[in-house]
Amino acid sequence: MDARLTDEQQRVQETARDFIESEGGIELARRQLEGENVVDDLWNELADLDYTAITVPLEYGGFGEGMVYLTALLEVTGRYALPGPLPETAAIAVPLLTELGTEDQQSTYLPAIADGDCRMSVAVYDDETESLPHAIQMRAEPTGSDSESAFRLDGTKTLVPYGDDVDAVILAARTRNSQGYDGISLFVVDTDQDGVETQRLDSLDWTRPMYELTVDDLEVGDKALLGPVHAGGSALQTAVDRFTVAGTAMLTGAADRAVDLSVEHGTEREQYGHPVGRFQAVKHRIADMWIDMQSARSLVYYAAWALDNDEPDATRAAAATKVYAADRLHRVFSDDIWNHGGMGFTWDHDGHIYLKQAKSWRNFLGSPESNRERLISARLATESAKSPSGES
């Protein structure tokens, strides 16, 4: 057992950090939120550094690594609020394609993703006020003779991250009259085809733009169907677990920097003749920020490893990251703003970037409440599985 990043994983982090800092660090996010689109150029560089290939299987030109490597990287990108659909592509799309894709689908998308030529996102919400799986309402009507070879998609998905910056989306639709996770099928939909249009929404976090994606009576063949018909719900849930851990990893990186910013301020800023970090109110608040950040990191490490190794408690571990982090990392960012006094509330201080990111992420693909329920159900299931097997 070694619960830390390996030397190699740490090197991935160092390289990523050096690269992003050489590109301007959080200035990239700032350029994005001022209206520039930095995603295209940035993505090419990420691809040059092989980051887009991390989770792609070896046979498709990737590194065949899993969540452990990916979250190690995402901690660093999160530190700088780096724009781009990296978690969507690497934590959701690639594993889904790897697990469920036909050979044809895999060879179409995976090498392209590894090379940086294909970015992907997710289109699940038909209604931005509802939670999963209720928010999935779009129908995929079978149009072929065997009812599984062709479908017609019609409707508008909302809250599609980077909708206009990606080449394809994983789209969830219902192929049966159902409300739960049953009857959901997943599709890979190229966004550059006729009948697919995107429209920018005004997102809270301007570094991560959100789009509406309209499919207008789009006929898709079985090349688009990802995995078994009607039965995509369970794979979607696992994909959401991966995204949950990926998101917590990014926010942990952001929280790590928020602690650094507060420490720097507490050491340099003087008030009443003393550096403000000398006052216990500030000092202890920063200590608590650090504790929460380290705790979130510990949860991410284990959840990533558990997902990669199909551990029986992987679902619980993934849900725990959001249960723990949703309020606590939000508080870390709030407290960093507090520590900075008036300057904390300015556009120039990076605090608001992290705060908005944390708030946007909170209910996206799973609220803390739904993760609490997922956690405790998973816990009860593993405990009851344990009891009869003779373990006391």
Binding site: Y272, H274, A281, G344, F345, K356
Partner: protein, 400 residues
């Protein structure tokens, strides 16, 4: 103990309520819309304040001689409550009405009173307040902006920050250092400074909520004159204290309560999975907690007003108001954003009870503007409870 209102107070309430119904901007109650264009917005606010002033509703706590109503504290409480109930537009000359006017009436010269006071309620002259500086933070007394005497003029150099309304203000109530030889509370002087001069420039601060309501103000050989000194030269800290006494009672608890009631309505109307939000256990639980906290803050405010009615100054409970109401608003808006569901990732307020998302970010501003909870807790610990002073407390802060 008696929480009921007298008949006279009730009729004051109804007079105001009737007046509002008649005089609020057209369609306000149905759809309280403020022009988004900056110029238009300022004109809109100015007109609203003139409407208020015309019927003596702009500064009801002012003496009648100056256009007020000499309203009692209870009447002021009723006024705040009613204004919050209809979510009335804010007064653009808030600082002039609540702080500068009362201060001048109390410590200004006759000439200053005659010249300035009449133009405040009607917003003919808009005021800002030059206190904070980039390096002074909440330690106002450590300010370094200098005013040097030159004949019967004073030449001012330095920089102020967090100055609300500076970009539209006609006059500034400025505190500057006129003598650096003593302790930091000594050698300060309060001035009235004409904002319309070359020596003054303002620059809006880009805030976290993408708004720009605060400013930096640069004084570069700006001038004012001897007759515009308030109080005594080098005795400005006394004037600061006089003015800060008028800050008490500017409670936001009524608008918080109104936001809560709007949120309650929203939770009854909005559904999730076909069920109204209000039927969700967790939503109910959190609403109940907020409700209890709001009631506690409101009743503490009442106690405080009652004490002030008798003694003239608010009780020590007044120190609680800022800590409690800022944290309450932040938690309320935080919750309001959370229950939007995944739509919390959007700025738009289609799914909002009021204006949660931007209000939520903005709440960090007022939370910090209040000098942060740390300072309020120091005040309570040291001044109310008599705990030993901090290492810093040889120096000072606002309210000390």
């Amino acid at each position: 103990m008696d929480f009921s209102y007298t008949e006279a107070q009730e009729s004051f309430r109804h007079e105001l309520r009737d007046w509002l119904e008649e005089n609020l901007p057209d369609g306000w109650l149905e759809n309280p819309e403020i022009p988004s264009d900056r110029e238009e917005r300022n004109a809109f606010f100015k007109e609203w304040q003139q409407t208020l002033a015309a019927d003596n509703w702009a500064g009801i706590h002012w003496p009648e001689a100056y256009g007020g109503r000499g309203a009692s504290l209870i009447e002021q409480t009723i006024y705040r409550e009613e204004m919050a109930r209809v979510n009335a537009p804010p007064q653009i000359n808030l600082i002039g009405v609540n702080l500068i006017g009362p201060t001048l009436i109390e410590v200004g010269t006759e000439e200053q009173k005659e010249r300035f006071v009449p133009n405040i309620l009607s917003a003919e002259e808009i005021w800002c307040q030059g206190y904070s500086e980039p390096e002074s933070g909440s330690d106002v007394a450590s300010l370094t902006t200098k005013a040097e005497k030159d004949g019967d003029e004073w030449v001012i150099n330095g920089q102020k920050i967090w100055t609300s309304y500076a970009h539209i203000a006609d006059w500034c109530f400025l505190v500057a250092r006129t003598d650096s030889s003593g302790t930091k509370h000594e050698g300060l002087t309060a001035f009235l400074v004409d904002m319309d001069q070359d020596g003054i420039s303002t620059e809006p601060i880009h805030q976290a909520n993408d708004d720009r309501t605060f400013n930096q103000v640069y004084f570069d050989d700006a001038v004012t004159t001897d007759d515009l000194v308030v109080g005594e030269v080098d005795e400005g800290w006394d004037v600061v204290m006089t003015l800060s006494a008028f800050e008490h009672g500017m409670t936001s608890i009524y608008s918080i309560e109104q936001e809560y009631l709007d949120l309650l309505e929203y939770c009854q109307e909005e559904t999730r999975g076909g069920t109204p939000l209000i039927e969700d256990d967790n939503v109910r639980r959190q609403l109940a907690d907020l409700d209890a906290r709001i009631q506690a803050a409101k009743m503490t405010h009442y106690r405080n007003v009652s004490t002030q009615m008798e003694t003239g100054t608010p009780g020590p409970e007044a120190s609680m108001d800022l800590v409690v109401s800022d944290e309450l608003r932040k938690d309320l808006l935080n919750f309001a954003v959370d229950i939007k569901g995944p739509a919390a990732a959007l700025w738009d307020n289609e799914h909002e009870a009021v204006d949660e998302t931007s209000g939520y970010i903005r709440s960090y501003g007022s939370w910090i503007a209040a000098g942060t909870g740390d300072i309020q807790r120091n005040i309570i610990g040291e001044q109310v409870l008599g705990l030993p002073k901090d290492i810093k407390s040889k120096t000072s802060h606002r309210g000390e």
